[in-house]
Symmetry: C2
Subunit: 380 residues, 2 copies
């Protein structure tokens, strides 16, 4: 298990780097579009390639339920199944299982939950999560963690963090013994590449617990470290404080990944702090709901003031949507509930997020993030 | 008003031709994808271009209600609004208004109907239909006709046919006086092109009425003739009989358009009979419902037997969907209600229809349609 990571430039705490996955390189800081059930919602894979996405995320919980990890494995893994030969990261299933709330029951062994599709009962354990992610053929597998609910008392947060650490150890043990079972090592033949397992820092909203969680997760020795349990309803200053606490401890020569964030100005800020990877459903979900992210701020495309607006969604954007369609047309599509609306809005939003990260990388290379930071904060 | 039409080859009654519209050439026999509200549902315009669609259809009724023809005119017309610089044909609004059933009231003046969106009352007359289609900037405008309901007694069909003839005259008078008002003649400047008006043959399910309708419509002298009022529930032999009756009479040097048809084997048959243009929602609507048209027949992609099928939807198809994705993946997308399902299925179905017409044109050039006819009939 390895995940080669080279840092090519640094500006302040920000790093420009490159992660070498078994399915190609990922330039960091990277934003990862979310492809929940084996599809970045509405977007064909060739468009993701055009957008220059080098890594996307799949959700273990959803793929386990449908179409099922055994089916995906039998078809050669998720890359082959969805025809995506670039990198894939899968979450552990933990966060989404916990999101089911009353339908779940947590024990030392793992989490029992009921499917949101048919109510059937299932058990996720660290071992099971590893088995599923390996069957899917993920390049970057996430350790099975407990996403501490918010708000949570200190003692509850510590107890939860301790469980996540025990689960991290179990995840690693299972992963180390089974990582060679990914469907693509058997297929590729010539490339004896393996997936990598990422640890996850928890600790609720307590900076000292976050530091302790980071220290003890690092002791387990992962090639990548994620910071989980954020974006769960806490104020943003708290998010920043928790990220900062973990980053203090996490090794600088390994990729650091903040899960489930954020708005454009947030991902710029986190990248400036030294975060290397982020993912969020925001650009895709907001796009389907008619919310566009632009260099002029957020834009609700259904607003009547766009009815006759012949300009592009974002005059500074060079994506294929902004190059071709007007705000008036995008508004019409959305108001008329045309299926094309979701696709075009999503393409633009993904382009905006990926361009934002590209601009961050460029600024790190040039040695000055200040302009980008102040510009993005003004859009908050 | 003119619609240059050259016939390049003939095989039996089938014709290989080229219609020169103000927005480029259309090779015939042509299948026209339906872009109801200014969008071929789910499909971006660049993909329509890749599919080599040279003409698409817009629905006057829908565009009139939303976004409104005045808005479209003020934005430069439908071509510019939707960013489509190839040919556009608009229907008259008549068929869809009649489809509203109890919500409509027909008089000599026109049709009063209630919007399916908000229940407001509107009046379509021949003049109003022309005004709307000209405002939209259609290349081929359809005369306002009454689509006779099915079944209809002979006398009712005659009365309705007579009304359509009077409305055709009124359509033509208004059109001739206003065709120069299309938004794009004012914009293009150098190209003094104008739209063309197509007459429509009616006559219910009575061959002699169809012939009479054709004769009297031809007397009005249109550059294009459509055969309407079919695919309204009649048996297919009746459809064929009505088309044949009209084609006997319609001038051979003008394009002949059968509205609202059909299945792949039907469009091959009609092309063989001498029909030059067809349109149908079938490939797009069926695609969104998981029905794929293939060289092996119709395929319901949600069928469990495709769950592990790694082959393309159609092994003989070279569309971008068949080139990249498996039946197993398409089935998964459909079962999981992923928005990408509708797009991919629609792209394949449109490719299949457009490829079918391309094969028809090739066969006419080669002088033998028999193989194509028997192959397509076997898929019925």
């Amino acid at each position: 298990m390895a995940l080669p990571f080279t840092i090519e430039a640094q500006t302040g705490t920000a790093r420009l780097g490159r992660i070498q996955t078994a399915h190609g390189p990922v330039e960091t800081p990277a934003f990862m579009p979310v492809g929940t059930v084996g599809s970045v919602k509405a977007v064909p894979q060739d468009v993701l390639e055009e957008l220059d996405a080098h890594i996307i995320l799949g959700n273990t919980y959803h793929l386990y339920l449908r179409p099922g990890h055994e089916l995906v494995r039998s078809l050669g893994g998720l890359h082959k199944f969805m025809s995506w030969d670039r990198a894939l990261l899968t979450d552990s299933g933990g966060f989404q299982v916990f999101s089911l709330g009353d339908l779940t029951k947590v024990s030392e062994e793992g989490v029992t939950f009921r499917s949101h599709l048919d109510g059937t009962s299932h058990l996720f354990t660290p071992e099971r999560s590893m088995e599923i992610q390996i069957a899917l053929g993920s390049d970057i597998v996430m350790a099975f963690d407990e996403c501490t609910e918010h708000p949570a008392e200190r003692e509850r947060s510590r107890t939860s963090m301790e469980m996540t650490l025990r689960w991290a150890r179990r995840s690693k043990e299972y992963f180390d013994a089974h990582e060679h079972e990914v469907p693509w090592t058997q297929i590729a033949g010539s490339t004896p590449a393996t997936p990598a397992l990422s640890g996850i820092v928890q600790g609720g909203m307590y900076a000292d617990l976050r530091r302790e969680s980071a220290e003890r997760t690092v002791e387990l020795d992962f090639p990548c470290y994620a910071i989980g349990g954020l974006s769960v309803g806490e104020p943003r200053e708290k998010t920043v404080e928790m990220i900062a606490a973990a980053l203090e401890v996490l090794p600088k020569d390994k990729p650091r990944y903040v899960m489930g964030v954020g708005y454009p100005h947030e991902i710029v800020q986190y990248a400036a702090m030294g975060v290397d990877m982020m993912d969020c459903v925001l650009p895709t979900r907001a796009g389907r709901h008619g919310l566009l992210f632009t260099s002029e701020g957020r834009m609700n495309i259904k607003n009547a003031r766009f009815a006759q607006d012949q300009g592009p969604a974002d005059p500074k954007c060079s994506c294929k949507v902004c190059a071709r369609y007007s705000r008036a047309y995008l508004r019409h599509l959305f108001v008329a509930a045309e299926p094309l609306a979701g696709l075009l809005n999503t393409i633009h939003n993904l382009a905006f997020y990926l361009d934002t990260m590209r601009a961050v990388r460029h600024a790190i290379r040039l040695g000055d993030l200040s302009g980008l930071l102040s510009a993005s904060v003004s859009l908050a």
